[in-house]
């Protein structure tokens, strides 16, 4: 997805439904029907992107919550944010006056950092994505195939 450092990023709230529940983020992409689950550091990353944030802000948020080598955390966070961008769950979104979250405070106890994972489920795609419609009648309505 290219160099996103310095870009302002944000969850695409218009096309994505998400809720943090039981320390898990459950996400539905309304465009394709795919759904996702996030755990652990992935939740921290997602929460940081609910408001416009830069990659360095997101890395800082994860470092405040998890214990690990900063360089390794930064690389893993960047890869994960790249995944979010690729799935169009997150988009480039300059703040334009929108609320920007303040820097987080370091947690008193930090669990060890593990690379975040984007769990993706695509089983609903077949219900949503129909083949392009080619066979229509003179009024433009799809022809019904004989059963």
């Amino acid at each position: 997805m290219g160099n996103m450092r310095g870009e302002w990023l944000r969850v695409d709230a218009e096309n994505v439904l998400a809720e943090t529940i039981d320390n898990e983020v459950m996400i539905i992409d309304m465009r394709l029907g795919n759904y996702f689950s996030l755990f652990g550091p992935a939740v921290t990353i997602w929460d940081a992107l609910l408001e416009p944030a830069r990659l360095e802000d997101v890395i800082e948020a994860v470092c405040c919550q998890y214990d690990g080598v900063r360089g390794e955390i930064a690389a893993a966070v960047e890869r994960f944010v790249d995944d979010l961008l690729r799935e169009r769950l997150v988009a480039v979104a300059p703040p334009n006056g929108a609320h920007v979250a303040p820097p987080p405070s370091p947690a008193a106890e930090k669990p060890p950092f593990e690379p975040p994972v984007l769990e993706k489920y695509t089983d609903m795609q077949a219900l949503l994505l129909v083949d392009p419609i080619h066979d229509v009648d003179v009024l433009g309505w799809p022809r019904v195939k004989p059963s």
């Binding site: 439904l17 039981d22 089983d123 994505l129 392009p132 009024l139």
Partner: protein, 356 residues
């Protein structure tokens, strides 16, 4: 409209003009006669005016348990016809198809007043004029697509009308007692319908198999929507005594999912609704005995929201937030679904009684 002034086409927004054109087609189809069916769904009265003979039975049978007197004042009147059997064509399609139409949504065509969808699987056009409380539901060839809509007809129109009135059509089964009951949520193949139909042998009654109505008014109430139940052919091996109840026995041998209309066979086992006490998430297991275990709220939300939202044109934030509230406020259980149907029914009965 039939009883009002028709909108002037040049002055109307495109969606309203199209609605009026389809309504005019209904009036031509209705020239051969209409049947009327009135029902009450979650306290909301809905009137159906069905042109022609073919659609009457498949549309009204799943709603038969909710029927009320035809003279009762209805908030929503939905008018239905079939292009093939009536010989009345639809007006020309006024929108461009996107490459990958989703859920039947017609992006960029409907507006705040007119909702529209086209279901490509059943070849069904649905429209709702929210201002006048008039719906339109048109099949291109009902005889060819009846297997698609006969269990859960009119879903888009009903959803658009009922959701703003605090009733959400949820992809879930519901079983229980007057004192309370449970939602059974899960994707296709999870054993939801097998679990529902197993309850016929218990004291629990059935509010729905594929869909039910969930009140979003804060009263925690579940309401029945349809009395139809469909189960995968192979699962009739677990409940073989239900085979004679299948509406179209040929479906037991063909690719269609066999359907049972409970109102015609077990009206005493249907219940109008109950307070929601728990969400149960079935999953087929290898053991004989079924068992329950606490499930995460996130999993309950996933099982309720993904299919409810992904199968309904126009569904989005409001529906999702309503299901979030359910997942966060009601106990959730996973059900390992065993092969002993009697024990399964007893287990769920015990859960419902304990959850009162």
């Amino acid at each position: 409209m039939r009883r009002g002034e028709p909108a002037t086409r040049r002055e109307s927004p495109p969606a309203l003009a199209f609605f009026d054109d389809v309504h005019a087609a209904f009036e031509r189809a209705a020239g051969a006669g209409t049947s009327v069916f009135t029902c009450r769904l979650g306290g909301e009265t809905v009137r159906l005016e069905i042109a022609g003979a073919f659609l009457d039975a498949p549309i009204t049978a799943p709603l038969a348990h909710q029927r009320v007197a035809d003279g009762e004042a209805a908030g929503l009147t939905t008018r239905l016809f079939d292009v093939a059997s009536s010989g009345v064509p639809l007006p020309p399609r006024p929108w461009q198809w996107p490459d990958n139409p989703a859920r039947g949504d017609i992006f960029g065509f409907g507006d705040e007043r007119i909702a529209v969808s086209y279901n490509h699987f059943g070849h069904i056009l649905s429209l709702l004029d929210r201002a006048r409380g008039i719906g339109l539901w048109v099949t291109t060839d009902a005889a060819a697509s009846v297997g698609y809509f006969e269990a859960t007809p009119l879903l888009d129109v009903l959803h658009w009308w009922l959701q703003p009135r605090g009733l959400l059509a949820v992809h879930s089964a519901a079983v229980g007692l007057e004192s309370g009951g449970i939602l059974l949520a899960g994707k296709g193949g999870s054993g939801k319908s097998t679990t529902t139909l197993a309850c016929l042998a218990s004291s629990l009654s059935i509010a729905g198999d594929d869909y039910c109505l969930l009140s979003t008014r804060g009263d925690g109430q579940v309401w029945s929507l349809y009395n139809s139940a469909r189960m995968e052919r192979e699962n009739f091996a677990r409940l073989p005594h239900l085979r004679p109840l299948v509406s179209r026995p040929a479906a037991l041998e063909s690719g269609d999912k066999p359907m049972i209309l409970l109102h015609g066979h077990h009206p005493e086992k249907l219940i109008r609704g109950f307070p929601l006490r728990a969400v149960v998430l079935p999953q087929i297991a290898a053991a004989a005995r079924s068992s329950l275990a606490p499930a995460s709220q996130a999993r309950a939300l996933r099982e309720l929201a993904v299919s409810t939202i992904n199968q309904r044109a126009g569904a989005g934030r409001a529906e999702f937030d309503a299901l979030v509230r359910v997942a966060k406020t009601v106990p959730c259980y996973s059900l390992a679904l065993g092969t002993d149907m009697r024990q399964l029914a007893d287990l769920l009965e015990e859960l419902v009684l304990e959850a009162r």
